[in-house]
Amino acid sequence: MSGRRRAVCWSDLPPELLSKIAECLDSRPQIQQFRAVCKSWGSAISPSVLTSKNILSPLFPYPLTNIQYPSPWLDSPTQSPVLVSTSVFLLRSTFDPNLPPWLFAAEELHPGKLFVSKSLSPIAIENFPTDLDFSYIQVSELAVFHRVRSADDPTDLFTKKHLSDFNDNRVVLFVHPSKITSPTTGIGDCTAMVLHHNGALSAIVLKNGREVSISSMLRKFDDIVNFKGNIYAKITYDPIVEVYCGKRKRLAVSSDQQELFLIYRWCRSTVSDVVAFNIYKLNEQESKWERVKGFGDDRIILFVTFDGCFFASVNDFQGWKGNCIVFYSACFASYSSLNAIVLVRFWFITWRMMVVNI
């Protein structure tokens, strides 16, 4: 052993090694932190490292590389399916709390590129401001949803203004109970339960891309959620998944993950503008649904979107009543055969609040 102590200086590490370390970081904010440490660390990182990283989640977009053409997911051999996540963000001004909040959804199909849409619909927000000053804005994430997209052209998603042009599906991720406690569990150990636009349900094992159909031809599913593990639909396929189904029904898990609600919309009469909801809460002990009058809390609002349901606090939406349901009619069809085009309470996003941007 040498007794000589060599002075070690981390800022003198060769740029190629610094760059290699930065590439091991998961997300863009982490790389930005890295660059801000000192000049040599900052200059070692090429912009390509920065743009190759995800903004929303280090896990998504997750390429399903094992799914290859021919597959129902893909129209052509050049396409590849990607599991993406969508986050619903609520922006509030810290400058003036009385300004109305701003709600939108952001999806990341390609690392570093966001598709920003109005939160209740799949319509793109055009002219999204690029110079938001986050020292005046408080950001909170209200919900995260997942779906599979197929893409061949990296600009594909961004050339289309309406995501409904895509073959819509919804994905809920499950991890086998035995895997949850393992420290090495990653997204590769998940099974993606996919609810297809036609109501069919299938499971994709992310590790090998194997897709197994769960629903038979006749049975259709309306919604899918991951809730605690109290409702089990045992299926012939491992792992055991928590699935609950219903026709024209929506499932909503409370923000604290402790309650599961089932909501369905129906028309009271042939008059199309009369809208009613039935709300049920899961009684876990007796494994049955109990009819309830509301969500039992005047401080919450339920949002029903194309991607799924989420609760929000009424405190964030001045002038709103709690215990109400907000949805865009097209994404929550009526239980009756009447396809009433009713807008119960669709909140139009305005640009007014962006005035905070001084």
């Binding site: 370390i21 982490q30 000192c38 994430e141």
Partner: protein, 164 residues
């Protein structure tokens, strides 16, 4: 280190920057592309003598660590099934070191072209700074902030969109 191979060159001698000699099994040495290249070159020339490879950039205490790593990985070289065990070992291996040692080890892994060790070090360093603030990173790595306040503000505003 046990010699098992019957080939002409089963062992090499590696010399550290502070002139200590290490006798290394060929299979172990092959974990480093630099050493492997030297061995291959000598074998092409048909040398039967034990060869000496001087490493001018690696001190003996760091070289000991690199060789410890190489030895472990040489044991597992033909066996993919033990990946999990090896991963665990890798993690425990790096956990023992202070940041100064980690720095030298990373440099040595780079110099000796021991790719897996280099990747391991980089990932380990990345993992340990991931959840730290810029201030904390500077502190644990003993790095001076050489940005002007203006430069610092510019970096901060570069991409306001990355809010998570």
């Amino acid at each position: 280190m046990a010699s098992s191979s019957s080939s002409s060159l089963s062992r090499v001698v590696v010399k550290s920057s502070d002139n200590n000699l290490f006798v290394v099994n060929k299979k172990v040495a092959s974990q480093s592309q630099l050493l492997k290249q030297c061995i291959d070159n000598m074998e092409e020339k048909g040398t039967n003598d034990v060869i000496l490879i001087p490493l001018s950039n690696v001190t003996s205490n760091i070289l000991t660590l690199v060789l410890e790593y190489c030895e472990k990985h040489a044991d597992f070289a033909d066996d993919d099934n033990n990946n999990q065990e090896l991963k665990q070992w890798d993690h425990e291996f790096l956990k023992k070191f202070d940041y100064a040692t980690l720095n030298s080890l990373t440099m040595a892994a780079d110099y000796m072209v021991t790719k897996s060790l280099l990747n391991l070090c980089c990932q380990f360093i990345a993992d340990s700074i991931k959840d730290l603030t810029v201030q904390q990173i500077r502190q644990i790595f003993d790095i001076k902030n050489d940005f002007t306040p203006q430069e610092e503000a510019d970096i901060k505003n570069e991409n306001a969109w990355a809010f998570r």
